[in-house]
């Protein structure tokens, strides 16, 4: 079995004249990851994916899929890899089934039953005889997943799979991605829909102006930005006076509540202090930061795409 990581990009650079679209990007997607590749529009996500798939040549650096570089070994580098960049594209004058048969033939052929299977997975079997030109955007997205599944991939690269879908279509697509991940497929998901990444992914990379500014576990990222605790009490002024001198606790007042910083033990001691002083605690909740807030902080306010939020 190939022990190499599904995706390893090292020092990936793509220049178009003076413009640096991707600037020394390092990416590692591990087996079993649902890896979110986040960035504002034009940050370099799609260009990176194109280099991974061998569609464009890096100016510098290398991209390896399961240890194979598309520029070195050609189409063989894509064994066990499937997906689409900038949305799946098909021949509009052919039926959905014929499109899949064509792609299956390019992969060495597949029995009709296998094509039926993947059509069933994406719930398109009833429309398989219709020309793709008459398909809705959502149906084309699902056909794109079916085309990818035909290759029995171990790694799936999906570029903005829910863009342009209605809420029900988004829900279905996310459900499908979850199911595929549960089936053991490693997924690299490029998206600017932050809620989607937060829902689906275990690891993320954030790219801004061609440079990766964060790569790691999503939960660690969120935890690192956690803002302590928020406390409401029956006597907020007296509580503040007591907790200011509480060992291990940093307290600050803010609009009728206190913001507390401290570890779990110090926080537990603080609640006892308040209880002994006869002050009732009406609310004590951890302060969390959403991925969107973090993203805006890290990218200096460049929105991923506010209009695309579900």
């Amino acid at each position: 079995m190939n022990e190499a990581q599904p995706v390893e990009a090292r020092g990936l650079v793509k220049r178009y004249g003076e413009i640096v679209a991707v600037d020394h990007v390092d990416l590692t997607v591990e087996r079993g990851d649902v890896f979110g590749y986040l960035g504002p529009n034009g940050a370099g996500k799609t260009t990176s994916l194109r280099m991974l798939l061998g569609l464009i040549r890096p100016t510098e650096g290398s991209a390896r899929l399961f240890g194979r570089d598309p520029l070195e070994v050609g189409a063989r580098a894509l064994d066990g890899v499937a997906g689409f960049v900038e949305g799946p594209r098909f021949y509009p004058y052919l039926s959905g089934r014929k499109n899949l048969r064509l792609l299956a033939d390019l992969d060495g052929g597949a029995p009709a039953s296998r094509i039926d299977e993947v059509l069933d997975v994406v719930e398109l079997r009833e429309r398989a005889k219709d020309r793709v030109g008459g398909y809705s955007h959502g149906m084309r997205q699902r056909l794109g997943i079916a085309a990818a599944l035909l290759r029995d991939p171990q790694l799936l690269l999906l570029d903005e799979p829910t863009t342009g879908l209605d809420p029900a279509g988004m829900r279905d697509m996310r459900g499908l991605v979850k199911q595929l991940a549960a089936d053991g497929i490693t997924i690299l998901l490029s998206s600017h829909i932050l809620a989607e990444v937060e829902e689906l992914c275990n690891r993320v990379a954030i790219i801004q102006r061609g440079t990766v500014i964060y790569e790691g576990r999503l939960d660690e990222l969120l935890r690192s930005a956690a803002g302590g605790y928020r406390l409401r009490a029956t006597e907020i002024e007296r509580a503040y006076s007591l907790l200011r001198s509480q060992p291990g606790i940093e307290a600050a007042q803010s609009n009728g509540y206190l913001r507390l910083q401290g570890d779990d033990a110090a926080l537990a001691a603080a609640t006892i202090t308040l209880g002994r002083a006869g002050i009732g605690i009406t609310e004590l909740v951890p302060q969390t930061t959403s991925l969107e807030e973090l993203f805006l902080i890290m990218t200096g306010g460049e929105t991923a795409d506010a209009g695309a939020r579900p």
């Binding site: 894509l78 689409f84 594209r89 021949y91 004058y93 064509l102 390019l106």
Partner: protein, 268 residues
């Protein structure tokens, strides 16, 4: 490569422009025969033109002459200029390039399919022209360009050989169309550019002072079949068409291959 070629043909068969090309190639000889049946006079100034009503065999040869000017170059460019550019524009190029085939295979399949279509329109014209004219004027022996009489069976063989040698410059036009299609990734620019190139070749052939290069122009090779219609056969233009067209076909295809294999497939 076989499956790539098969699917390129199936894609062509699913597109209207293919039928537009085939239909036009069949319609031109039909119109030609219909007009000559209804009217007197004929194309007496062109090779075999004066024998047009003597036998159905003469018509395909005469139509070959007329269609070489712009109709066949246009019909050839229509598909060859589109075969890569359309896929790039529709985004399907990246779809097929992320499967298990090397880029070289995809290019070869496309080039073969475009050349097959080119042969098909030529064959369609020849067949329809022969049948239509045969029904109008019969299938009598043919008078060759040397004035000798050629039996119908032998004339049919000469027609086949002539179509085969006529295919060479058409393949040269197709190869140029494929190159433009690969470089520009723009169907309209490739189709128009290919047609312009074919017309330029013809223009060069009639301009004064171009006599030394005329035998090596692509347009000149459209007349190479005349060699078969002489008694004895004149192989000089045929052999020259073989090697001259090999260059006109090979160089653009080789350049197109290199561009196709090495170029970035970015957004459309």
């Amino acid at each position: 490569m076989t499956s790539v070629y098969k699917w390129e043909l199936l894609k062509l068969l699913a597109q209207k422009r293919t039928y537009l090309g085939l239909g036009t190639a069949m319609l031109v000889p039909l119109i030609f025969v219909t007009v000559l049946v209804l009217k007197t006079g004929g194309p007496n100034d062109i090779p075999l033109g004066r024998y047009i009503r003597e036998t159905g065999l003469a018509t395909p040869f005469v139509v070959l002459f007329f269609m070489s000017i712009w109709a066949f170059p246009l019909l050839t460019a229509l598909v060859a200029g589109d075969i890569v550019a359309a896929e790039s524009h529709n985004g399907t190029l990246k779809t097929i390039l992320t499967r298990s085939r090397e880029r070289g295979e995809i290019f070869a399949g496309k080039a073969l399919a475009a050349l097959t279509y080119t042969a098909a329109i030529l064959l369609a014209m020849g067949t329809v022209g022969l049948l239509a004219a045969g029904f109008a004027w019969g299938f009598a022996p043919l008078t060759s360009l040397s004035g000798s009489t050629v039996s119908f069976g032998h004339g049919l063989g000469l027609l086949g050989a002539s179509l085969a040698v006529y295919l060479l410059p058409m393949a040269g036009i197709a190869a140029f169309g494929i190159l433009l299609s690969t470089i520009t990734r723009n169907s309209a620019a490739s189709v128009v550019g290919t047609l312009m190139w074919a017309l330029l070749m013809q223009l060069l052939g009639v301009l004064p002072g171009t006599e030394p290069i005329r035998p090596y122009l692509l347009a000149t090779q459209f007349d190479a079949w005349h060699g078969f219609l002489r008694t004895p056969a004149d192989w000089v233009p045929v052999v020259r068409a073989l090697w001259v067209c090999a260059l006109y076909i090979g160089v653009p295809l080789a350049a197109g291959y290199v561009v196709f294999v090495r170029s970035d497939v970015a957004g459309e």
